[in-house]
């Protein structure tokens, strides 16, 4: 489908706005959600001309403050790499959103727009490639700091991320065996099938074990609590120790953008992506016979809203896990990744294979 450059740029701008807004709002959500969970009130004092907005202006104040902080470079640091490492980190976090579909087809004039920025037919492999490159941002930042402890933090981070990439891949194989494709848009379309005529065939029903595994491994891959041993935070020294000002701001933002990315991938693979139950391209087709006709724009809007709501649920879940569970020790993280999650993923593949054979 020949989409013009204008449409591609519009989709790109839309996705970037979506992701960056979520990333910025997540800084506020983290403080407010942790406050509500801990029976207190979070940040609520920043006000512009008397308008308080429940503390959202604190996120804006954080950003402005980080811009105006002195950007410090250590004396014998590797200056070009030191400056560029946070940018690499953010780049590879943002680029992963190019293959996430947030809607079906949208008819604009006489072009049919596929609501996915880059319609790759190897979407899942692209995501793994991006996750693999994300290690570079961390390791280069730690190495260029010329600080022994930051370097150790970076080594911890790289070992953890590389180990969990294996489990990340293997836990998806069961899904790919069922969906028979690695194109993310086709995966989401496949999940619109109805089992037995009334149950939407979402991935979590086909692969519950795969879902739990993928969520755990995803949280470990993005170094969120409880797997944030590389990041440190008051017990062991982390890899962004020497970064101040906007360099630290970019690492901080990467953390939240990767949280959104794991939520988006989980929703796409296991929870039907943009699928609303019983919503087809021309309206609702209920199994008991009713039908509600909707225009194409309305259908696209409903699909986008459903995607957003599902992503927000997983963001809430990851934030709750973050503020509840204590941190794992580093050897526990490694043991979990190699000795437990990887064999269970392989067993998952075997079981899926058996069941597919039986059902044939």
């Amino acid at each position: 489908m020949a989409e013009g450059v204008g449409i591609i740029l519009a989709k790109l701008a839309f996705v970037l706005l979506f992701v960056l807004n979520f990333g910025a709002v997540l800084t506020w959500v983290e403080r407010k959600q942790s406050a509500v969970m801990q029976d207190r009130i979070g940040a609520n004092r920043a006000s512009i001309f008397g308008v308080r907005l429940l503390g959202l202006l604190h996120a804006l104040a954080d950003a402005i403050k980080m811009f105006t902080k002195e950007s410090f470079t250590p004396d014998n640091a590797d200056k070009p790499i030191f400056r560029i490492a946070p940018a690499i980190s953010v780049f590879f976090a943002l680029v992963g959103f190019a293959v996430i579909p947030f809607g079906d087809k949208l008819v604009v004039g006489d072009t049919v727009v596929n609501l996915q920025v880059a319609p790759l037919n190897v979407g899942v492999l692209y995501l793994f490639a991006v996750a693999g490159m994300a290690v570079y941002g961390v390791v280069l930042g730690a190495w260029a700091s010329r600080n022994n402890y930051a370097l150790l933090g970076g080594l911890r981070a790289s070992a953890q991320m590389i180990s969990y990439e294996v489990a990340l891949g293997v836990s998806i194989f069961g899904c790919i065996m069922i969906y028979q494709t690695v194109d993310l848009q086709e995966i989401v379309r496949w999940q619109g099938h109805l089992l037995g005529g009334w149950l939407p065939a979402w991935g979590v029903l086909m692969q519950p074990l795969g879902f739990i595994l993928f969520l755990t491994v995803g949280i470990a891959e993005t170094k969120r609590i409880p797997f944030d041993a590389p990041e440190g935070e008051s017990e062991i020294i982390g890899y962004f120790l020497e970064y101040s000002g906007m360099g630290f701001g970019m690492y901080f933002l990467t953390d939240f953008i990767e949280t959104v990315m794991i939520s988006a991938i989980t929703v796409t693979l296991f929870f039907g992506g943009w699928q609303v139950p019983y919503l087809m391209a021309d309206g609702f087709h209920f199994p008991w016979g009713g039908m509600v006709a909707l225009s194409n724009w309305m259908v696209a809007l409903l699909q986008f809203v459903s995607f957003t709501l599902k992503v927000m649920f997983f963001l809430w879940l990851q934030m709750t896990i973050r503020w509840t569970l204590p941190r794992f020790r580093y050897d526990q993280i490694m043991r979990l990744g190699w000795k437990y999650l990887l064999p269970i993923s392989l067993v998952n593949i075997l079981l899926t294979g058996f069941i597919i054979l039986l059902l044939k």
Binding site: V36, D39, R40, L325
Partner: protein, 197 residues
Amino acid sequence: MNVHDKYGPLTLWEKFYLAPILAGLWLTSKHFFRNLGRHILRAVGIKSRAMGAVTIQYPEFLRPLFPRLRTMHRLTRREDGTPRCVACMMCETVCPAKCIYILADEKLENPQIEKMLHSFDIDLGLCIFCGYCVEACPEDAIRMDTGILELSNVSRNGMVLDMETMLNLKPDGSRYAQYDKNGDIISNAYIQQPKKS
């Protein structure tokens, strides 16, 4: 005795930690939704006694203080307006941090009271707020019941209290908890009314 000897090694189910993890998530989610519901109800306008947070929002709301709390010092006066202090130097001697500096003067009007104060300085930057000076004073001249807790300044010299300041402080009863005639605390005096700052 090692705890592992008492309870034995972990069973396979316990090693999964699924039950404790889910119990923890259940507890925090319960707090989250309960507080969120209370916040939304108060925002909509349905006010109830249940607060969404236990925070006392200083400086608009004040926590009630109790009578024995040791806050900023003040010097008391007799009925005729002169300070009670007779410069006996008891407080200066007993102070563990040696933060009281007294200079005495001769009091000529009354033959039964021989001395009076020339200057009385307390360096609050050194004071540890133990209350020994209050206990040691034989004249009940110094008390620590002003209810002023906000002792911060931009310089160390600004924290030296002199005699004039301390004589003019009054006990501020509005920040203290209210008691009824039997000595029981009044129950709804826990979060005080907003103060204008």
